[in-house]
Symmetry: C2
C-alpha cells in the first residue's frame, strides 16, 4: 500500500451515501407480497427449486421489528469489477452493525472460490472505512469460479456451517445470482441455516427487469467512457482530420454503447441487437458507415466518431455463419491447416472449404484477423472476442473507400482513422454519487433480507430516477427471474440476460435522433464524473434509466 | 451544433476564473526590468532580431495608466489542441473590453494560415460566452501552418494593415512563439504598428524556463491521463492478472509520463531523457522490464502497470543508430526493396546491409513494425512516431519471458499483457480549475502587453503554486528564450525545448521512489478532475510544478 492516498480519495472517504427513507431509521421490517412465478418454464423451474420457488416479493418498511441478532454474515464478490462493490459491502456492514454491534461480517477472498475453499477474513470497521466510496474490488478481491458442481456445493455447506453463518451475500451478475439461487435451494434442502442473498452487479447493464431497474456499476462505467468519448468528439471537431472508431467493453449487450451514444451524440453508433434483428450483414454495415463518411466529407467534415460494442461480431449474421462453418472445418482439419506453409495457403484452403458467402466474408478480413480466428481457445471455440472490431471496421471501410475513389467517387473523402478501446478505464473508477448511493442502499437492503431470514432473493432498490427519499428497497425471488436456456447442450435455469430491446424507449430515442447526429455535429461533452457540484451535474441517473422511467430527455 | 449542452458545460459556463491581484482592478500599468539577453548565441540572435533584441522583462502592476484604446486586436490558435485555449481568448476579450468597450477582437480561423490568408471573424460576447471554460479549439480552430517564408510574412503584414490591427496574440508552443518573435521583428522593421504577443501552450509541458513556469493544458491533459491510469492500477490490483502497458502522448519530452507517474505511482515508468543520457539499449530496457515482472511474480503479483512516453524510440541509442542506417539504405535502395517478393526477403536483404548491432535490433522487431519502418513519410523520414511502442515492448518482453521459461526460469510468471494509448482523450478536456484560471490570466496579461505597446513578448504568469492573489503577470521577450539549433541543415533561432532534466526535483523524486513502486503496490488513484469540491481536490498544481517550486510532496 502507498503511504498516502489521493486528495479525492481522502475527500470521498467522508462521503455519506444516501439511503431510501425506510432504511434510515433504527427499526425496519419487511412486508411480503403475493406469491411469484417466473414468466416461462414454471414447471421445470419449480421442479429444480421446490423449496425456494414461488416465494413472495419483499418490501423493506420503516418501523418494523426484525430480529436484531447478533448474526454472522459472509460476503463475496463474483466476476468482473464494477464501481461501487466496496459500497455494497460498506452498506451491509453498517446495517448489520447498526442492528447489533456484535454481528460479524466476513469477506470471502478471491470470489466464490473463497467460499468453496473456506478462505475469508473478518471485515472490521478499520478495513471497511479505508474503502468507502472507492472503486475496485481489491478489499476482498473477486474471482470467476462458479459454485455449481455437487462437490463445490458440499464444500460450501461445510464451510458455512463451520463458520456458523446466518447469511451469505453474493455480489455478482446474472450468472452469479442464478448460482445464489442454486446454493440457497441446496442449503435449505440440506438443513443448513445460511440464507443466500444476491446483489445485481455488472457494468454491462444487462441484468435488469421489472424488479431490478439497473445493475450497479453501469452508471459509473458508462459515464467514464462518455467522458472520454465527449473529449474525443471535441478533439475531432477541433482537429477536423480524424475519424475515431471507438470499441466499448460490454460483452453481448449494447447498453454501454447506447448509453454513451445518448450522452455524447456521436455520428455513428452500431447496436448489435438491431443488427441481429434486421439480419444486417458485415458488408451492409461497412456500406452504411461509408455512406455517412461520404456525406460528411461532402459537407466539409472529414472527421467523426463511431461507437461499436465489443460484442458486435457474433450478432452479424454472416459472421456468425462463417464462424460456425470455420469451427466445423477446424474441428477436423486443424492439424492439416497447421501443416500448411504460410498464411496465403491457409486462406486458400479455407476459402475452398467454406460456403460461398462465408468464403467471401473470410476472404475480406485483414490477414491478422484471419489468423486470430484460427487459434481456437481451450474450449474449442473460435476466439471471436479477440477480434479488435474497431480495427476490422477501419480496415474494411478503408478498402471500400479506396475502391470508390479508384472509380472517381467519394473524392471529397480524406479518411484518417484512429482506433480506441475503452473498458479497463471504467470498471474500477470511483463510483459516481448514483452508484455510491445505490450500492450502499443495496448492501443495506441485503442486510435486512438476511435479518428477515429469507433466502434465494436478489436485493433490489427501485424508483431510482427519483430522490432517494422515494427509493424503495426490498428483495425479488431469484426463481421469479429465471428461464430455461440451453447451456453446454442441456436446458439450464438462468436469469435472462437483458439485451437492448428495439421497442424500448432508450433505443427508440436513439433511432429517432441518430440521422441528425450523423452528418451534422450534435456532439455533447459530458466531462468527467463530478462528486461535489450542482445536483444536475452530480446526481442525475443514466439517460437509459431516465428514458425507461418516462423522464423527459432533450436531444 | 446540438440543441442542448451537458449539465457540466452549463455549470462551467458560469465559472469565473481567478486572476492575479494586479489584474483585477480597473487600471493597470507595466514596469520594465533591466535589458535581457539569451543564455547563448547572443551575437547571432541579435543579428537576426536587431529591433526586438535585449528588451526588458515586463511586470504588470495594479493602478497604472495604460492607454485605454479603443484598439483592434487579433488572436490565433496554433498547433495541437490544449485544454484552456478558449479561456485565453476569453481573458483577452474581457481585459480588452474592460479597458474600452469599443475595442474589437478578431479571431483568425484555422491557425496561422488564417493570418496569411486573411480569414477571420469578429469575436463578440455572444460567441465568447458559449465557450467559457470549455475544452477544444473549435471556437476559431487551429492549424499547423508556419509564418516563416518571406511571402507569408508579407501577406500577414498586408492583412494586418488592412484590418488596422494594433496587436496580434499567437497562442502556441515553442515553435509558434519563435514565429511570433520573427513576425514581431519583421513587422517592426516594416513599420507596421501591429504588436505581436505569444502565449505558452502545449500539453507536452516542454515550453518552460525561468520565466515560464508551465505551458497551459499540461495540467488538464496529465490529470485526465492520470485518472485513467489510476483506474487501470485499481483494475490491475483487483483483477490480478493483467500487465497494462500504457503509451502516453507527448512527442519528445517525457513530462506527461513523469507527471502521471508522480500522480499514480505505477510499477514501471520509462523516461526517455534518462534512457538517452545513460545510453540504455532496447535490449537493456526489455531486460529491466522483465526483471520487475519476474520479481513481482515471485511476490505473487502477476499484474502491473508500465508507462511509456510516445517519444521513446528516438531516445534509444541503438534504435536511433539503426534508424539512421535504415534511412541511408532506403535513400538508395527503396525501389529495389519494393520489388522484393515478400516480407522475409526484405528483412533478409536489410539485415545484410545494416551494421551488426543494427541488424540484430531490426531483426528483433515484430514483423508489422519492421514493415512500418520501411514506409518513409513525404519528408523522407522513417516514421518512428507510427511505432506503437507499447505493442513493441509487449512483443519483446513476451519473447524474452518465453526464452527464460524455456530454460526453466521465471516459472512463477504468467504474463497477460494489454496495451493502451492515451492522447486524444486529454487534449480537449474541460480545463481544470488551474488551467481555466491560468489561461484566463494569460489572456488578460496578453491584453495588457498589447495595450502597453510592446512586441515580441510571450505573456507569462508566475508564482503558480501559490494562491492566485500572489500570481504575478507580465511578459518575457522571446529573444531572451532563443538559442541557435540546426534545423533542416542550417542554424536557426528557436526556443529551447524543455526536456526532463535528470537533476530536476521531479525526476529526482521519481528516481528516489521508483524502486519501492516496482515490486510493491504503491498505486495512487487520483480520480477524475473535479471542479466544485474542496480546494485540495480541485485547485492543486501538478506534482511536477509543486516539486519544481519546492513544495513538499509525499510519496
Amino acid at each position: 500500500m502507498s503511504s498516502h492516498i489521493s486528495a479525492l480519495q481522502q475527500a470521498r472517504l467522508g462521503y455519506t451515501p444516501k439511503l431510501p427513507k425506510a432504511l434510515r431509521g433504527g427499526s425496519v421490517g419487511v412486508e411480503f407480497g403475493a406469491a411469484t412465478a417466473p414468466a416461462s418454464h414454471q414447471e421445470e423451474i419449480q421442479a429444480l427449486f421446490p423449496l425456494t420457488y414461488g416465494q413472495p416479493l419483499v418490501t423493506i418498511t420503516a418501523g418494523g421489528n426484525l430480529p436484531a441478532g447478533p448474526l454472522k454474515v459472509g460476503v463475496v464478490l463474483s466476476g468482473g469489477q464494477a464501481p461501487g462493490g466496496h459500497n455494497v459491502i460498506a452498506g451491509l456492514f453498517d446495517a448489520l452493525k447498526a442492528a447489533n454491534p456484535d454481528t460479524r461480517l466476513y469477506g470471502f477472498l478471491k470470489g466464490p472460490g473463497g467460499v468453496i475453499k473456506g478462505k475469508y477474513q473478518e471485515l472490521t470497521a478499520e478495513i471497511i472505512d479505508a474503502y468507502r466510496n472507492t472503486g475496485g474490488f481489491n478489499m476482498i478481491m473477486s474471482g470467476r469460479d462458479k459454485i455449481e458442481k455437487p462437490a463445490d456445493l458440499a464444500a460450501c455447506k461445510a464451510n458455512l456451517e463451520a463458520m456458523g453463518l446466518d447469511g451469505l451475500v453474493i455480489i455478482g451478475g446474472d450468472d452469479s445470482n442464478t448460482n445464489a439461487a442454486v446454493l440457497a435451494e441446496y442449503l435449505q434442502r440440506e438443513g443448513c441455516k445460511t440464507r443466500v442473498i444476491g446483489v445485481p452487479k455488472t457494468i454491462d447493464g444487462d441484468m435488469k427487469n421489472d424488479y431490478i431497474e439497473a445493475s450497479f456499476g453501469f452508471d459509473t462505467a458508462a459515464r467514464t467512457y462518455a467522458e472520454l468519448i465527449g473529449n474525443i468528439c471535441r478533439d475531432a471537431q477541433s482537429a477536423v482530420k480524424y475519424w475515431h472508431f471507438v470499441r466499448l467493453m460490454g460483452r453481448a449487450a449494447s447498453h454501454v454503447a447506447l448509453e454513451c451514444a445518448l450522452q455524447t451524440q456521436p455520428n455513428i453508433t452500431l447496436i448489435s441487437e438491431e443488427i441481429q434483428a434486421k439480419g444486417i450483414t458485415l458488408g451492409e454495415i461497412v456500406d452504411g458507415i461509408v455512406q455517412i463518411i461520404v456525406d460528411r466529407a461532402a459537407a466539409g467534415r472529414n472527421y467523426g466518431i463511431l461507437l461499436v460494442p465489443e460484442g458486435l461480431p457474433e450478432f452479424i449474421s454472416d459472421i456468425k455463419t462463417m464462424i460456425e462453418e470455420l469451427s466445423t472445418i477446424l474441428g477436423t482439419e486443424e492439424e492439416y491447416l497447421r501443416g500448411l506453409a504460410d498464411h496465403s495457403e491457409r486462406v486458400q484452403y479455407l476459402e475452398s472449404q467454406l460456403g460461398d458467402h462465408s468464403a467471401r466474408v473470410y476472404g475480406s478480413l485483414p490477414a491478422d484477423i484471419q489468423e486470430v480466428l484460427l487459434r481456437r481457445d481451450s474450449h474449442g471455440n473460435v476466439p471471436l472476442s479477440q477480434v479488435e472490431t474497431e480495427r476490422l471496421l477501419i480496415d474494411l471501410v478503408s478498402d471500400k473507400l479506396r475502391l470508390l475513389q479508384s472509380h472517381g467517387q467519394a473524392e471529397a473523402v480524406k479518411f484518417s482513422p484512429l482506433g480506441h478501446f475503452f473498458g479497463y478505464e471504467g470498471r474500477c473508477a470511483y463510483p459516481s454519487n448514483f452508484d455510491a448511493d445505490y450500492c450502499y442502499s443495496l448492501g443495506y437492503a441485503a442486510a435486512q433480507l438476511v435479518r428477515a431470514g429469507v433466502t434465494g432473493y436478489t436485493a433490489n432498490v427501485r424508483n431510482l430516477t427519483r430522490n432517494s427519499d422515494e427509493w424503495l428497497a426490498g428483495g425479488v425471488p431469484v426463481t421469479m427471474m429465471l428461464n430455461m436456456e440451453m447451456r453446454k447442450g442441456k436446458p439450464t435455469p438462468v436469469i435472462k440476460k437483458a439485451l437492448v430491446e428495439l421497442d424500448s424507449e432508450p433505443f427508440k430515442f436513439f433511432a429517432a435522433n441518430r440521422e441528425s447526429w450523423g452528418v451534422e455535429d450534435a456532439y455533447i461533452f459530458p466531462g468527467p464524473i463530478q462528486y461535489f457540484g450542482p445536483a444536475a451535474v452530480c446526481d442525475a441517473p443514466t439517460v437509459t434509466l431516465a428514458l425507461e422511467k418516462g423522464v423527459k430527455v432533450q436531444a
